[in-house]
């Protein structure tokens, strides 16, 4: 039995230690907000926070998580940066199909938590691992800046 701390709750899952967190979240715990996109860490749709840092859950064996807190899109709104980002995302109307946006929001929230006033190169560095097929990138950049400016 693997014991995980997810969004402030303790969750137990009877899964193999090498199973990526993504599938534990989606298939076992029913937290489907975290998305599967590529399975090889190329698209960022599965981004969660591990101890506050962004991590690709499709490549993260649950056995390696230990005591570190996991935050998913379902819980990130409880953090200051996450709430700001979600609000800015709607304010700028970033979202189209929305499938990649859980991962985009998680990456952006982690960026703002560590770098409260990111410049364009900070945004490029933090967000270039998150693909968006609908092409919402310009609005993602605007929304991050708006979130950073909000109090």
């Amino acid at each position: 039995m693997t014991r995980l701390q997810i969004n402030g709750e303790v969750r137990n899952a009877d899964v193999p230690a090498d199973m990526p967190l993504l599938w534990v979240l989606r298939d076992v715990l029913g937290l489907t907000g975290t998305k599967f996109g590529c399975g090889i860490g190329q698209c960022g749709a599965c981004t969660v926070h591990l101890g506050g840092k962004p991590a690709r859950s499709c490549l993260l064996p649950v056995g390696l998580i230990g005591e570190r807190e996991v935050t998913t899109i379902e819980g990130v709104g409880a953090t200051l940066a996450g709430a700001k980002v979600q609000k800015a995302w709607l304010g700028v109307e970033v979202i189209q199909c929305g499938y990649c946006q859980s991962g985009q929001i998680m990456s952006a929230a982690a960026l703002l938590a560590g770098t409260p006033n990111p410049d364009d190169s900070d945004i490029d560095a933090a967000m270039a691992g998150n693909l968006c097929r609908c092409g919402t990138y310009l609005r993602i950049r605007d929304a991050i800046k708006r979130a950073a400016a909000s109090r």
């Binding site: 899964v15 193999p16 199973m19 990526p20 599938w23 534990v24 989606r26 298939d27 076992v28 029913g30 489907t32 907000g33 975290t34 998305k35 599967f36 996109g37 590529c38 399975g39 090889i40 190329q42 698209c43 749709a45 998913t72 899109i73 379902e74 709104g77 979600q86 995302w89 709607l90 109307e93 970033v94 979202i95 189209q96 199909c97 929305g98 499938y99 990649c100 946006q101 859980s102 929001i105 945004i123 490029d124 967000m127 270039a128 691992g129 998150n130 693909l131 968006c132 097929r133 609908c134 092409g135 919402t136 990138y137 310009l138 609005r139 993602i140 950049r141």
Partner: protein, 731 residues
């Protein structure tokens, strides 16, 4: 909110079905005014040479309940294009409804309601939603408003002419009385719906034209929105699959000794052409699949390579095609003046929406349930019925949000495969494609080869021949629409090209590529034709010694909306202002999807052939704009989608297999590669045009022409070849 099966909500039969009837009304279970109306979806092309029956068959419904909630039940699906907001806006406008009381539900498949199941297809595609709903939904909304006013007037014993409506209420000015729609539904439901309620004039619009917030995005930002891939019906198992890597190949032998002892693996399903592993979770299924030792019977396609594809289509393009359009005397026109020939090519492309292919199916002896995000929900139902042998009405399809469609969800191959797998499984099963499987078993944007010939006299084009060679996707997807050997999609934007040319011929040569299945891809036929035409126009302008914008402008008198867009974009882009060396601006115009768009791209090309797009400016006349923010978003996104194709988009086949597999070798544009994009909307009173695909069509030729301006190198195919731009290779 529960969806009432569409058939049960049309009360009674129409005693005298009138060809003119557009609106049907009644009282729904639970107390709600219910209105049914018909939206001609997917008919435009199919009925060009056919007449469909005119029996009234509603395919969209409005329900106004006793709480005042107004629900539009519509057959269109949301896949990011914003129709779950913009379409209800049209209804709320004519109904004078409070927009926050308007909700939307996806209709269940209801082909049974259609007069002609061949032509009336429940489809979301071809940038069609706003165009299809514009008039029918306004008429329905206006009719409903008249009924609610009439109901209030009856209750008050006053003349309806003295009543007005606003924000979901009816007001009687003289007496100061008011009633919310919620209080009027029972009485209104007993009235005969008007068939000719007057529509608002554009000047009276309160919602249309305002940048309203989308209704679908708050749940998406919280991670609570559900896509097809998120379905978890009670008792669901998880599966993933491998189809034969060679198109058309079959399963030979499967050694499952290792796979079946992996913890969590429950079942191995071996079918003719694919193998699936079912497990307690996707991880077990994937590990099980990886552990299988499968010998494929690859079949004859195992010899097909990309060179075969190109050789075949290039040979096909040498043949005379079926004439799709002729003006004047093309032969005579091509015999005078300075002649120029150029061939253009586009590659295969996969759709690669961010949500990989998936479908959840539960097959029971007496019924089948399907959970999927589909652009063609009635086809999803039909294929599941065919696979299971169940009657149509025993197949329930729950359509879901789509995590990117781009044409991929116009196909039901995923539903078909999933239903075949589910037939072998005793529980609901969610089948999820790996990204590799998704990329390697798509129905691809076809390769195209366009042969362009034109003659110039006194700086103007006097003769024009455009021969398009490519797959006829229409012939497979909608056979009745494939008439006289012409794929109306493959020639779209070529037969209606915007320039004044006295002698013109457009030909189409159908060429189905070996092995590789083809399908619609965002931007469809116009992607190819606008790329070929606008690339060629730049080469002709250069030959004529004329400025690319001036050259085009002088031939756009018969297309004034496009001419105006071109003039606007020239100013906004600073056309003609000096640029540093190896920088250039390129222009492209298009009359596609009922929208008139002119686009200027600005690029820099370095000595190693790397291209940086600095800026894109686009001017659009898409008629009346329902939600301007959505129009801007669709153009931004479409342009970026096109840039991905220009920079990285190419799928190739070798030994019958697709060579690309995931985002490392089928790349997408990333945030650090995206240029500034400006969208300028032209005010217009014309009917709305389509917008979802237009940006894709615009960006390839604009960027290509900017590269031409920066380097003098006329690229003749996409994606951009850095070796050519670095002059390591010739065009």
């Amino acid at each position: 909110m529960e969806i009432i099966p569409a058939r049960s909500i049309v009360p009674g039969e129409v005693a005298d079905p009138s060809r003119r009837e557009i609106l049907k009304a009644g009282l729904a279970a639970g107390g709600a005014l219910l209105l049914g109306f018909h939206v001609p979806l997917g008919e435009g092309r199919a009925t060009q040479s056919h007449t469909s029956t005119h029996e009234f068959a509603p395919n969209a419904f409005i329900r106004i309940d006793r709480q005042g909630q107004i629900t539009l039940i519509m057959p269109q699906v949301e896949m990011g294009q914003g129709v779950y907001t913009s379409v209800p806006m049209i209804l709320a406008e004519e109904l004078d409804a409070a927009f926050d009381q308007v909700a939307l539900e996806a209709a269940p498949p209801n082909d049974a309601l259609y007069g002609n199941p061949v032509f009336h297809i429940q489809v979301t595609g071809n940038s069609n939603s706003i165009r299809a709903f514009w008039i029918p939904l306004r008429k329905a909304g206006a009719g409903a408003r008249v009924m609610l006013v009439e109901a209030a007037a009856q209750m008050w014993g006053v003349d309806p002419a003295g009543c007005r409506t606003n924000n979901s209420e009816v007001f009687h000015e003289a007496s100061g009385r008011r009633l919310p729609y919620a209080a009027l539904v029972d009485r209104a439901a007993k009235l005969t719906p008007p068939q000719d309620a007057p529509l608002k004039s554009v000047a009276d619009f309160k919602l249309i034209g305002k940048p309203l917030k989308r209704l679908d995005t708050p749940d998406k930002a919280k991670g609570t929105a559900l896509y097809g891939i998120d379905m978890l019906p009670e008792g669901v198992k998880f599966a993933t699959l491998a189809a034969c890597p060679v198109f058309g190949g079959r399963v030979g032998h499967v050694d499952d000794r290792v796979a079946k002892i992996i913890p969590g693996v429950r079942q191995i399903v071996v079918l003719d052409d694919l193998v699936a592993v079912v497990g307690d979770h996707t991880w077990a299924a994937k590990q099980g699949l990886d552990a299988l030792n499968i010998t494929w019977s690859e079949g004859p396609n195992a010899r097909v390579t990309q060179a075969d594809v190109w050789n075949q289509i290039r040979a096909a393009s040498q043949r005379e095609g079926v004439v799709a359009k002729t003006l004047g005397d093309a032969e005579k026109g091509l015999a005078q003046g300075d002649r120029m020939d150029a061939d253009y090519e586009l590659p295969f492309l996969a759709h690669a929406p961010m949500e990989p292919m998936n479908c959840t199916v539960h097959v029971r002896p007496d019924a089948c349930e399907v959970w999927v995000g589909s652009q063609v929900v009635s086809r999803a139902q039909a294929i599941a019925a065919k696979v299971t042998g169940l009657p149509l009405e025993k197949v329930i399809v729950h359509n879901q949000l789509i995590g990117g469609g781009f044409g991929r969800r116009l196909e039901v191959d995923g539903v078909e495969k999933s239903a075949r797998i589910a037939k072998e499984v005793d529980s609901p099963v969610k089948v999820v494609w790996s990204r590799e499987e998704d990329v390697q078993h798509d129905l691809y944007r076809p390769v195209y080869h366009d042969r362009m010939t034109a003659t110039l006299s006194s700086g103007r084009i006097v003769g024009w021949r455009h021969r398009i060679a490519g797959s006829a996707v229409i012939a497979r997807w909608l056979p009745p629409a494939f008439q006289h050997g012409i794929d109306i999609d493959a020639v779209d934007s070529a037969v209606d090209m915007p320039y004044d040319i006295p002698n013109l011929r457009v030909e189409y040569v159908r060429d189905e590529p070996p092995a590789v299945p083809t399908g619609f891809w965002r931007g469809v036929g116009p992607n190819n034709n606008v790329f070929a035409i606008e690339s060629f126009m730049d080469e002709l302008a250069k030959k004529a010694g004329r400025d690319p914008i001036e050259f085009r402008r002088s031939m756009l008198d018969k297309t004034p909306r496009l001419k105006a867009a071109l003039e606007l974009v020239a100013g906004k882009a600073g056309w003609g202002r000096p640029l540093p060396p190896r920088n250039g601006r390129g222009v492209a115009v298009q009359p596609s999807f009922g929208s008139y768009i002119a686009t200027v791209a600005e690029v820099e090309v370095d000595r190693s052939g790397e291209v940086s797009v600095r800026r894109i400016v686009t001017a659009v006349d898409t008629g009346i704009v329902v939600n301007p923010d959505t129009v801007v978003a669709q153009l931004q996104g479409g342009l970026i989608f096109g840039l991905t194709a220009a920079f990285y988009g190419e799928v190739t086949i070798d030994r019958g297999r697709i060579q690309q597999s995931n985002f490392h070798d089928y790349r997408m544009l990333r945030i650090d590669e995206v240029p500034a994009i400006e969208v300028h909307i032209i005010q217009s009173g014309e009917a709305p045009g389509g917008i979802g695909e237009t940006g894709v069509t615009a960006s390839l030729p604009a960027v290509r022409n900017a590269i031409f301006a920066a380097t003098g190198i006329p690229l003749r195919r996409m994606p951009i070849d850095r070796d050519v731009l670095a002059e390591r290779k010739s065009v």
